[in-house]
Subunit: 215 residues, 2 copies
Amino acid sequence: MPVMQVERQTDSNPAGVEGLLERRYSPYAFSPRPVEPEKLRQLFEAARSAPSSYNEQPWRFVVARREDAEGFGRLLDTLVDQNRKWARNAPVLVLSVAKVDFTHSGQPNRHAWYDVGQAAAYLTLQATELGLYVHQMAGFDPVKARQLLSIPEGYEPAAMMAVGYPGETESLPEALRQSGSTRRPRKPLDTLLFEGTWARPWSPAVGDSSSTGIQ
Amino acid sequence: MPVMQVERQTDSNPAGVEGLLERRYSPYAFSPRPVEPEKLRQLFEAARSAPSSYNEQPWRFVVARREDAEGFGRLLDTLVDQNRKWARNAPVLVLSVAKVDFTHSGQPNRHAWYDVGQAAAYLTLQATELGLYVHQMAGFDPVKARQLLSIPEGYEPAAMMAVGYPGETESLPEALRQSGSTRRPRKPLDTLLFEGTWARPWSPAVGDSSSTGIQ
């Protein structure tokens, strides 16, 4: 198993995508402040602009704001206990759903989940720019989600997202106070990249121009 | 099948994520200009900063620059003919690969492809900011990719990406000249969004504050 790198904490605040990626994290503590409807709209506009295989756009989203106690309760009920504890304080919950077959052919779409992931990523970066944060969760029951939210066959519940402004970590259960504000470590680039074949690990930072070799 | 909306072409050039998403498209024509190593590094830094289920970071990338004729040829060989025609002129090809089981448990990672999609999306937006464009392709042979690139069991070839600066569409085969520079239509938001249950379509733009209803 590769060694993890702990990200450097920097005081810099670079502009653009790099800055957004540095600011982005998955909070456990949310402010009770509601998310403005116009900002919610911007999040989903970002999501739907993602590219997708055959332009299928296999992403769907079930959205629930806390004001809608019934809808919010349904999404909350699908979460595992550990997530329900903190996610109940988020102003918005969103379940992403993947349409797993192509509309044009009925054949399985190999990239349905991949493309829903792309849409979620665009949503997340748009959120970060607006001062909103997104905490995605695998910890929910997809079978229960299908039942409670009436999700039809051909669609699969993908990931749950809590969306909102960040809140005070004092409001968190003890176990989450530490983990809620730190970025989890990332694997070093040279364990993720290969050059032209899996047999040759690669790092673009080291001896780049001469490492191409062979021909 | 829902009606598609053709995106408005605007003269505006908004800053930030919205502007990046507006500029982003998947070109067929690439400039022969190589991609600077430092920019390549920035693309993969963006990719590896993506969130993932259990922080598994299931993304891997096999990268080939045209200068590496052998490696580049291997990636090119996995493409379907239709993609090979134009992708051979891209300065960089990248195959994204998904690690489909969790490292900590050996159990299937339901979100492996979703998370690789997120990493690809971060890479793509970072590229757009740097003036680079990414054209992702489903049209390649994953079995051939596994063989030619020595991808081990437990990993699945996900998507091929051509990366580079945009080029002159005059260099394209006739059939691609039109399609190469236009954004494909997107489904309207109200066909993608549901409020609290699949039974209730939702649009955040229309009558928002009063549409929550029920409670």
